[in-house]
C-alpha cells in the first residue's frame, strides 16, 4: 500500500506537524505531486518567513529527497479532511489557523518577488518623524481608520481625518485653494518656499490634489526621503512606479496630478479630526 508523509512547514519553535497518508489518499497525493513536477515552479518568498511556508512531501522508505510544494490540491486535501488534522492533536483551532496561514502565504507569493529598496539611514531632517510603517500597518484599527492626512501629520485619530474639520473650517472643494487653508486652520504652517528643505522645527509635509476627486499628503522622513499612506492601505515609502521618493513633486502620483504646496507640521501644535 503506498504511503506518503507530509510535513506542514509552519512552526518556528515547535517541531512541524507531520501527516501520514495511506491508500487512496496517498495515491491522490502522489498524482498531484507528479502533475506538480511538470509545472514551472512559481516564484516564492525565501524560506524562512514566519508562519506557513509550504508542504514537504516524502515517501517513507524511498531514497529520494523530500519535495517542497504549495500545490493547492494538496493543501485542500489537508484542510478539507478534518480527520487528518485532528490526528495531530494541535487543538480545535488548528485547521482554521492553517487555512488562514495558507491564504496569507499565497498572497505573499502572489506579490513576489519584491525588490526592497535600500533605505538610507543618514539623518538629514533631525525633527522629522521616524519611518516606522509596522506601527501603522496593523491590518486593523490603526491602518484602516487613519489616512494620508493622519500619517503626514504623524497624528493618529482613528477617524480618517479631514483637513479643517477639527477647526470647523473643512475644505469645500477638492482644489488646492480649498484644502490648503483648511489645513492651515488645523494649524499646519504654509511653506510654499520650502523647496523640499527640512524646517528647523517640526516636519515637512506635502499636499497634492486629484482635481475634483481627492487630496493626498506625503511626509518627509528623518533620512530626507518621503513616505505616505494611501487611504486605509499600508504606509509605504515608494511611489506608483515603485521608486523611492526624494521629492514628491517629481514622484509618480497617479491621478494626484496637481502639486499644491509644502507645509510644516509642528508637533503638539496641530489638531486634526
Amino acid at each position: 500500500m503506498p504511503s506518503v508523509r507530509i510535513t506542514i512547514d509552519i512552526f518556528s519553535g515547535r517541531p512541524n506537524p507531520v501527516v501520514e497518508l495511506r491508500g487512496s489518499q496517498a495515491r491522490a497525493a502522489l498524482a498531484v505531486l507528479r502533475s506538480a513536477g511538470r509545472e514551472r515552479p512559481r516564484a516564492r518568498p525565501p524560506v524562512p518567513t514566519l508562519g506557513y511556508r509550504g508542504l514537504l512531501i516524502e515517501r517513507p522508505g524511498s531514497r529520494s529527497q523530500p519535495v517542497r510544494t504549495m500545490h493547492p490540491a494538496l493543501e485542500d486535501l489537508l484542510t478539507d479532511t478534518p480527520s487528518l488534522l485532528q490526528r495531530l492533536a494541535l487543538g480545535r483551532q488548528f485547521p482554521q489557523l492553517l487555512r488562514r496561514e495558507i491564504e496569507r502565504f499565497r498572497e505573499l507569493c502572489e506579490g513576489w518577488p519584491r525588490h526592497p529598496h535600500p533605505w538610507p539611514l543618514r539623518e538629514r531632517c533631525r525633527c522629522a518623524p521616524l519611518y516606522e510603517p509596522a506601527w501603522w500597518n496593523d491590518a486593523g484599527q490603526k491602518q484602516y481608520n487613519n489616512n494620508c492626512y493622519n500619517y503626514a501629520c504623524d497624528y493618529r485619530t482613528d477617524t480618517f481625518a479631514q483637513p479643517g474639520l477639527a477647526a470647523g473650517a473643512e475644505y469645500t472643494q477638492l482644489t488646492c485653494a480649498s484644502v490648503r487653508p483648511a489645513a492651515v486652520a488645523d494649524d499646519l504652517i504654509a511653506a510654499p518656499a520650502a523647496h523640499n528643505r527640512c524646517p528647523r522645527e517640526g516636519h515637512l509635509v506635502a499636499l497634492v490634489i486629484a482635481p475634483g476627486i481627492d487630496f493626498h499628503w506625503y511626509r518627509k522622513g528623518r533620512n530626507g526621503y518621503w513616505s505616505h499612506k494611501p487611504g486605509g492601505t499600508p504606509v509605504v515609502n515608494v511611489d506608483n512606479s515603485n521608486h523611492l521618493i526624494p521629492d514628491p513633486r517629481t514622484a509618480n502620483r497617479g491621478m494626484y496630478t496637481q502639486f499644491c504646496t509644502f507645509m510644516v507640521a509642528m508637533h503638539g501644535h496641530i489638531k486634526i479630526r
Binding site: R99, H216, N240
Partner: protein
C-alpha cells in the same frame, strides 16, 4: 429567501473615505448570476497602483466578499481560499459600480476607473 445585507465600495481615495453604499437585493441577485457565468481564472486580480483606482467590491454580512479589478474578479468566503474568475470585458466590475445608487460615485471616479 431573505438576502443578506451587503455593501459596495470603490477603492480609490486616499484623503476622503471611499464611497460606500448598500447593495439592493435585486442588484445582488444580478451580481450573483453574473458571477456564476464567469469562467475560472488561475491568477488573482493584479496588484493595483498605490494611488488611484484600486478596484471595487461587495461585502456581505454573510461573510462573502467579492472584489473586481481590471479583468479578474474574486469571491472570498473565509476561511476558504478566494475563488478567482475571468471578468471578461469587466462586466462584473461594471455591475458592482452599477449597483451604487445614482450620485454615490462621482463621474470623475468612474472615469478614473476607466469604466
Amino acid at each position: 429567501m431573505r438576502q443578506p445585507s451587503c455593501s459596495g465600495t470603490v477603492f480609490i481615495y486616499s484623503g476622503r473615505p471611499d464611497p460606500e453604499w448598500l447593495v439592493a437585493p435585486g442588484q445582488l441577485r444580478l451580481l450573483r448570476e453574473l458571477w456564476e457565468r464567469l469562467p475560472p481564472s488561475d491568477t488573482p486580480p493584479r496588484r493595483a497602483p498605490l494611488l488611484g483606482y484600486r478596484g471595487c467590491g461587495v461585502r456581505c454580512a454573510s461573510g462573502e466578499e467579492w472584489f473586481a479589478y481590471e479583468g479578474i474578479a474574486s469571491l472570498t468566503r473565509r476561511p476558504h481560499r478566494p475563488d478567482h474568475r475571468r471578468d471578461v470585458e469587466r462586466r462584473f466590475e461594471r455591475q458592482i459600480l452599477k449597483s451604487a445608487p445614482p450620485g454615490t460615485i462621482p463621474e470623475a471616479v468612474r472615469s478614473a476607473a476607466k469604466l
